[in-house]
């Protein structure tokens, strides 16, 4: 069965992307922020559309693609991220590149890639979706052409990203070679036939897939590209990179593991647990030494990926029984993380755009004096990352670790808690710069643009809402992961 109406949101996004490029060509005199607003509106419409096309039918497109609550969850999350990224770019990108139509178009294209990563139920489809997202990012990271760092970041990202894609493809080919199919369900059925013994080539293929996807979500030891890309990319793209690429990566991982490998946990869970521990340690320890704020955020986001990988490892240990609750906790954490990151970058973009400072940590010195509200939002998002109570990070991490509390994994959770407390140290160093020192080069007071102010406030409220009353978001996440394990259970039985 092929129900082409399922992709109306994607048709819309692709059309809007082309339209935005065309508009810039047709009306070069258009005020430059207009394109950003149009993109944001297009993304919001995309989110609205996606709420109406949720058939939850696993049979459509022969099981290549499934549009269900899970896909919708990531469609909406991605749409929100793109809308906010576009708004952030309005002033930030104005003088950094001469042509911006493609920039905004690519944001929407990346959104399509993200959706298909969440929707794919076949390895090659997932791979193509991942490449759509990656290619958009390669260009977006290097978009500030006058900036040497941006170009350097883009080049590094492309080279390493290409390598990771090759690794991923090799893994896919190995899995295909053993099981004779690239469909998630088919792989699960093949594994079930083997009676639990995993072929060595299958394990190797799985490991390569983990490495390839691990690169995309910047898990250690595949994280080397992240700090450079984050630092070189324009600020809004850094925000987009640290939210969208991770959300998409985990969507793919969840879909793949819940459908294919969940019953065979013992052959891969140790690897994921190891990667999770390494990622938490590397991310949080290296972050301490950073002097550049974007690099610090990069390493801190690596740490966050480590926490999320703990859940994947827990699914390996606990199987489908705990899978559902653990995955919904992971989605909840993802929402909290995305909101906090966007809040952080909204405040930083508003600040850097007007002060013209570079992104060193010293650049925000005395921010509490000149921009108390922005400083408050930066503080709130950093506290949320650190997992302090009343901010999103605490509640979401608590649920994640509670859901992952498998007996064999307790030491990993112990590492995660210790890592959280280490992270508080470097977040406090940033907060210290804002609150305890006088601004360098005199006090620069300015009015924040009303639209930035409104966005920052919205995200700030979001951080507090998820932190204090996570119930509703958790229920949404719970509904979103429901189809995942149903399919896995059907195929396994």
């Amino acid at each position: 069965m092929r129900d082409y109406t399922l992709f109306i949101p994607e048709y819309w996004a692709a059309a809007a992307a082309c339209l935005i490029i065309a508009i810039e060509i047709a009306r070069p005199s258009l005020p430059r922020p207009t394109l950003a607003y149009l993109t944001a509106i297009a993304a919001v419409i995309y989110g609205g559309f996606s709420l109406f096309y949720i058939p939850n039918d696993p049979e459509s497109f022969m099981g290549l693609i499934q549009v269900d609550d899970f896909t919708t969850f990531f469609r909406v999350l991605g749409a929100g991220t793109v809308a906010i990224t576009a708004m952030l770019s309005a002033t930030h990108m104005r003088h950094r590149a001469s042509v911006l139509g493609e920039y905004y178009g690519l944001l929407l294209v990346a959104l399509i890639g993200l959706t298909f990563m969440a929707a794919a139920r076949e390895l090659l489809t997932a791979y193509i979706a991942l490449e759509i997202l990656s290619f958009s990012f390669y260009i977006l990271v290097g978009y500030a052409r006058r900036d040497v760092f941006s170009a350097e970041a883009s080049l590094k990202y492309i080279l390493l990203g290409g390598f990771a894609s090759a690794v991923l493809l090799y893994g896919v080919s190995l899995v295909y070679g053993v099981s004779g199919t690239t469909f998630y369900d088919g792989i699960a059925a093949g594994l079930a036939d083997q009676g639990g013994d995993m072929d060595l080539a299958m394990i190797a293929g799985l490991m390569l897939i983990i490495a390839g996807v691990g690169f995309k979500v910047s898990a250690a030891p595949f994280h080397m590209w992240a700090p450079d890309a984050y630092q070189g990319a324009p600020l809004p793209i850094t925000a987009f990179l640290s939210t969208a690429s991770k959300a998409a990566g985990f969507a793919l991982i969840l879909r793949l593991f819940s459908a294919s490998f969940v019953e065979e946990g013992e052959s891969w869970r140790w690897a994921v647990a190891g990667v999770a521990v390494l990622t938490m340690i590397v991310g949080n320890l290296v972050a301490i030494q950073q002097t550049d704020l974007k690099r610090l955020v990069a390493y801190s986001s690596i740490g966050q990926v480590g926490y999320m990988l703990v859940v994947i490892a827990a699914i390996g240990y606990g199987g489908p029984e705990i899978g559902e609750q653990a995955s919904s906790a992971l989605l909840l954490h993802m929402v909290g993380y995305v909101i906090s990151t966007l809040a952080l970058f909204t405040a930083l973009t508003a600040y850097y755009d007007r002060t013209g400072r570079d992104s060193s940590i010293r650049g925000i010195r005395g921010m509490a004096e000149s921009q108390p509200y922005l400083a408050l939002i930066v503080t709130a998002s950093l506290f949320s990352f650190a997992g302090l109570p009343f901010f999103a990070g605490f509640a979401t991490k608590l649920f994640m670790f509670q859901a992952s509390a498998e007996p064999e994994l307790l030491w990993v959770i112990g590492v995660a808690i210790v890592a959280s407390f280490i992270s508080l140290y470097y977040y406090l160093m940033v907060i210290r710069e804002m609150y305890l020192f006088d601004p360098e080069g005199g006090l620069q007071r300015f009015r924040v643009q009303p639209i930035m102010w409104a966005m920052a406030t919205l995200l700030f409220v979001g951080i507090l809402f998820v932190g204090i009353y996570p119930g509703p978001v958790f229920e949404l996440a719970d509904a979103a992961v429901e189809p995942l394990f149903q399919v896995g259970a059907d195929a396994g039985s």
Partner: protein, 487 residues
């Protein structure tokens, strides 16, 4: 409902103070006084309505807060004979702290807002009956405290603030681990249920859980060797924050030990009692010896707090109702007496701008009222009969002597030392030759100075002469805790 009001009135007033327009920022202190005063009056009403004969918690309120999966987080608060006096102490000292901050002119809105949020978080720690709510309130205290020390402090204020935060966070990390272990075993965070629970096979051994929990509280109390944050924080904090810190924040540690440590894990407490008592006696002595050597008045009082908190630990370790009652009484008494000491030292520092003992002297001539107050509070600190501190110390000693004779005798030696450092300090600061550089300074003069000092002094005498007001409330609750301990 009433208890929630007590809990949230200060924070609500803090938010109002923060939202005042810049032109009216001096109004912040009145808003703060109104909010903290209302909370105090309300908690006083609760104190008198408290039924000493009733078992269990009173004025309870329970709402489901977050319920996801098999995970239940409640907003569950209530007080018993242990927490009621501490809640009253907190609201009382909050009013005192607001009053002694009346001359703050630097960013008063943020200052009073932080102070009041701090008060709410401390009250929250005392009334929370859900372990996670307890932990949330425990953590909430960090940020206002950090700001208060780092912005309005003196000397190495940033260092002191960071050190305070890092120490506390380290303690809460240990605590969080044990909270989660206990809660996952029982499937609930309800302190009431956890207290009655029989733990089966927790993921890490219960003895270790107990030690982690106690370590978290010991950092807060503080117990030697986890005490080094305290002198730094005290010395560099503004007066009101020192009052809150010594008066109630340290008590969070003692409260946690009794409610969670002994209350939830009585068996493990019995396993480790001699070690705890030893650490307590050591803290008393070590603190007293270090105090003798201090040259900064504030640091001196800070170290004396370490010594006095050792007595709390000793009383807890006795694990009998007398010792526990004594420990609780000591917390209240120390809160009042040390609060008064810090108020007076703060007022003195406002005038002389030095805390070095060697630069002070003969102040009785220039500031007779302040000097009288300081002598009074000093006597309270060394445990003079007819003051609250005496009752507390004697109860702790009676309770502890039954079980640890030698350790108690050592601790009593610490009290002798306390007479030494207090009297020596008074002799050097208040008496001695008059220093003429202080001739121009005024004595205690403003109404808010008089009110604070007089109120604190009156309560210290009240609880010293009529201990039964508190004893009758604390003792039944402690009997219930002690009844679960099998020695």
């Amino acid at each position: 409902m009433e208890l929630s009001l007590v809990l949230f009135l200060p924070a609500a007033a803090g938010v109002v103070a923060l939202l005042l327009p810049a032109a009216q920022e001096q109004l912040a202190r009145w808003v703060a006084l109104a909010g903290s005063g209302a909370a105090f009056v309300l908690s006083l009403v609760l104190f008198f309505r408290f039924d000493n004969a009733a078992e269990g918690y009173q004025f309870t309120e329970r709402h489901t807060w977050v319920s996801v999966g098999d995970f239940n987080l409640q907003y569950y608060i209530g007080v018993d004979g242990l927490s009621m006096p501490l809640v009253l102490l907190t609201t009382f000292l909050t009013v005192a702290s607001v009053l002694v901050s009346f001359n703050i002119t630097m960013r008063p809105r943020l200052y009073f807002a932080s102070l009041l949020v701090l008060a709410t978080s401390v009250i929250g720690v005392f009334v929370a009956l859900d372990f996670l709510l307890f932990f949330l309130m425990w953590e909430l205290e960090l940020f206002p405290m950090f700001l208060l020390i780092a912005i309005w402090g003196s000397g190495r204020k940033e260092y002191a603030a960071t050190k305070f935060v890092l120490y506390t966070i380290f303690g809460s990390a240990l605590m969080l681990v044990s909270i989660l272990v206990l809660a996952f075993d029982q499937g609930t965070f309800d302190i009431e249920l956890l207290t009655q629970a029989e733990f089966q096979d927790t993921i890490i051994p219960l003895n270790l859980v107990f030690l982690l929990l106690m370590a978290g509280f010991a950092i807060k109390l503080p117990v030697v060797p986890f005490h080094t944050w305290l002198p730094d924080a005290h010395t560099n904090a503004p007066t009101a924050v020192s009052v809150m810190l010594a008066g109630v924040l340290l008590k969070m540690g003692g409260y946690g030990m009794i409610r969670m440590g002994v209350g939830i894990l009585p068996e493990q407490a019995a396993n480790w009692d001699i070690w705890i008592a030893g650490l307590g006696a050591f803290s008393v002595l070590y603190g007293a010896f270090i105090t003798l050597r201090q040259t900064d008045v504030k640091r001196l009082v800070a170290y004396s707090s370490v010594s006095h908190m050792g007595l709390v630990l000793l009383g807890v370790a006795a694990l009998g109702d007398t010792g526990l009652t004594g420990a609780t009484y000591q917390m209240v008494a120390h809160g009042l007496i040390t609060g008064l000491l810090f108020v007076l030292i703060g007022l003195m520092y406002d005038r002389t701008h030095t805390r070095e003992i060697s630069q002070l002297g003969g102040l009785a001539r220039q500031m007779p009222l302040l000097a009288t107050g300081l002598v009074f509070a000093g006597f309270g600190s060394l445990g003079l009969p007819a003051m609250a501190g005496f009752i507390a110390e004697i109860t702790v000693f009676i309770g502890a002597f039954e079980r640890f004779e030698w350790l108690t005798l050592l601790a009593i030696l610490g009290v002798v030392l306390s007479a030494g450092y207090v009297l020596w300090m008074l002799q050097r600061v208040v008496f001695g030759p008059v220093r003429h550089e202080w001739d121009e300074l005024t004595d205690q003069r403003a109404w808010w100075e008089h009110t604070t000092v007089a109120a604190l002094a009156a309560v210290i005498v009240l609880f010293g002469v009529f201990p039964s007001i508190l004893m009758d409330m604390i003792n039944p609750a402690m009997e219930a805790v002690a009844a679960r301990v099998v020695l």
